[in-house]
Point group: C2
Chain length 330, copies 2
């Protein structure tokens, strides 16, 4: 069986050579364990942070050990009471075709309720990040203007749709005309801006937000966020969820200082990590599932086939090659 390990810590943008594909013995399970076969692997920008050894909220990956991320797996054999052969589970698992598990941290998912991959996306970490980041920090009120960057990505596309469901004006920022078109036609964003074809982003945001920006859901950081900051209203809330434009920087990224804007406009800016809000998952998941079931929440997936293509799928995130959730199907 195959496994993908961290070969080197990336300098700048991750390269294929930072990973290595190895062959290992398929595990035998013992009492209190089950045997899992990987079905779907989620690749997410935040994994870039774990590939470095800087101190962070989550331990770095170890060199020469398997990478891990959110995955869906099928139970092939089980010595556990609460998991049976044929079940599908979701949770943090290793990038291995087969692995044993004692079931800790895994939840069963129902392939009849939603497509299995959705449990990595709209019904999983992605959807929870969008919903809880928006509602717990952004606290948008009907009629307010919500701007989201990385808007065509996994989290951003859900954020925008939820903000619409909450009665807000929603403006998305994305990197191609095709994505902009999708945001407006499929996801019903009020406006969308292609940052790759816009020279004056601050003006474009001002034009798209005639009443200013009340909530900014930031997935990207960098110059796009600088432009949004120039348009924030008094008492604006900024959910600092991701900074994909900065993850591959090799020196400390510099930019305009935010303090004067925060003071002038009494702005709140808060770093968001979904795992801080675990106590809210039990109410959030049914809400997301209900919207999904009612057809009010749509999702897009970019599905890459083949276990060995997981590193390339991850690398492609940084070029925005995905629309919606990037997933590897095994």
């Amino acid at each position: 069986m195959k496994t993908i390990k961290l070969n080197k810590r990336p300098v700048g943008t991750p390269q294929l050579s930072d990973f290595k594909l190895e062959t290992e013995e398929k595990p035998q399970i013992k009492a209190g364990e089950m045997l899992l076969k990987a079905t779907y692997i989620s690749v997410d920008p935040y994994l870039r942070g774990r590939m470095s050894d800087a101190k962070s909220y989550i331990a770095p990956f170890e060199l020469n050990k398997a990478m891990s991320s959110g995955m869906i797996a099928e139970v092939l054999e089980s010595n556990l009471d609460n998991f049976s052969k044929g079940d599908f589970v979701s949770g943090m698992l290793e990038w291995k075709e087969y692995q044993s598990s004692n079931g800790e941290g895994l939840i069963k998912v129902d392939a009849h309720q939603a497509p299995l991959s959705a449990y990595l996306g709209v019904l999983g970490m992605t959807g929870l990040t969008a919903y809880l980041g928006l509602t717990e920090i952004g606290k948008p009120k009907a009629g307010e203007t919500v701007v989201v960057s990385g808007a065509a990505g996994a989290v951003g596309s859900i954020v925008g749709q939820i903000a619409k469901l909450l009665g807000c004006r929603v403006v998305g920022i994305a990197g191609s005309d095709e994505k902009v078109e999708q945001l407006k036609s499929e996801y019903a964003f009020d406006e969308a801006i292609n940052y790759n074809s816009t020279t004056n982003m601050s003006q474009a945001i001002a034009d798209a937000c005639p009443n200013g920006v009340d909530v900014y859901f930031d997935n990207v950081g960098g110059e796009i966020s600088d432009a949004v900051m120039l348009n924030v209203n008094r008492f604006a809330r900024i959910i600092v969820c991701g900074a994909i434009s900065l993850y591959n920087e090799t020196s400390v990224p510099m930019g305009p200082r935010v303090q004067p804007i925060l003071i002038k406009n009494s702005v709140l800016m808060q770093g968001f990590i979904v795992s801080n809000y675990m106590e809210k998952f039990a109410e959030a998941v049914p809400q997301l599932a209900q919207w999904l079931g009612e057809g009010k929440l749509k999702f897009t997936e970019t599905v890459v086939e083949g276990f060995e293509n997981t590193p390339q799928a991850f690398i492609d995130l940084f070029e925005g090659k995905n629309k919606g959730k990037m997933i590897v199907k095994i």
Copy 2:
């Protein structure tokens, strides 16, 4: 009678030539008015923002019109029921030796309860800023570490003392050995750092905060704040109250981007303006007065004599020539 007007909008650090001293007719009061004589004028860093015409939370001063700020004045004559000759009032007033007022926005202050100037400081905007910024945004818990910059200033020195009263470890950052000594001996700060004699501020903060920084009350912005940011704990709260190091910049100040730190540590950063918290004043003022009465809250004033010296007193703030609250006595 004399008045001080805005002569020019400052470029960079304010100069005396940005102000002009003029002579005007002493006003005659009408029905529904009282005649006030200026007693104390508060000069505060935030006034720098009002001297520019950039959009902000408060309207800019108008050219060729009197400046204004927090002041204490004596009632010389009154046609109002609720103010009598001999009363002292506090509120936003114009930089004029004499002025008429209809009483709106003014409160009576009691010279027997505290020295009159204290109503501009610890019992006024300064004390309210310190107390409400710290408690409403910082929410310090006993045992946590609170760092305050501009620590020997009007707001900072109160912040540190209140944080001590709330059971925190308190570390101050100030600009001279004399101020550092005062913070430790008079105000009982646990540690204090002279940024002018420290080459590695980040290391100095790490040394002074062995358990990291939970709350940062930021009065200064700039490189001092960059150094504090490198030491914040998970779930740290940053009160962005002032950015005196940036107010006189003539171009957009640049610095390390904060987003990666906010994400990694789930940090909250929020711009604070005391007037947003008016509904809390009624509970905050008695608390401050109680601590003051019990001798638990000390305050320092730098008192400049003479109405015409108000612009110089204001300019001196940016060189840190004040200890504690800078006040002009007329």
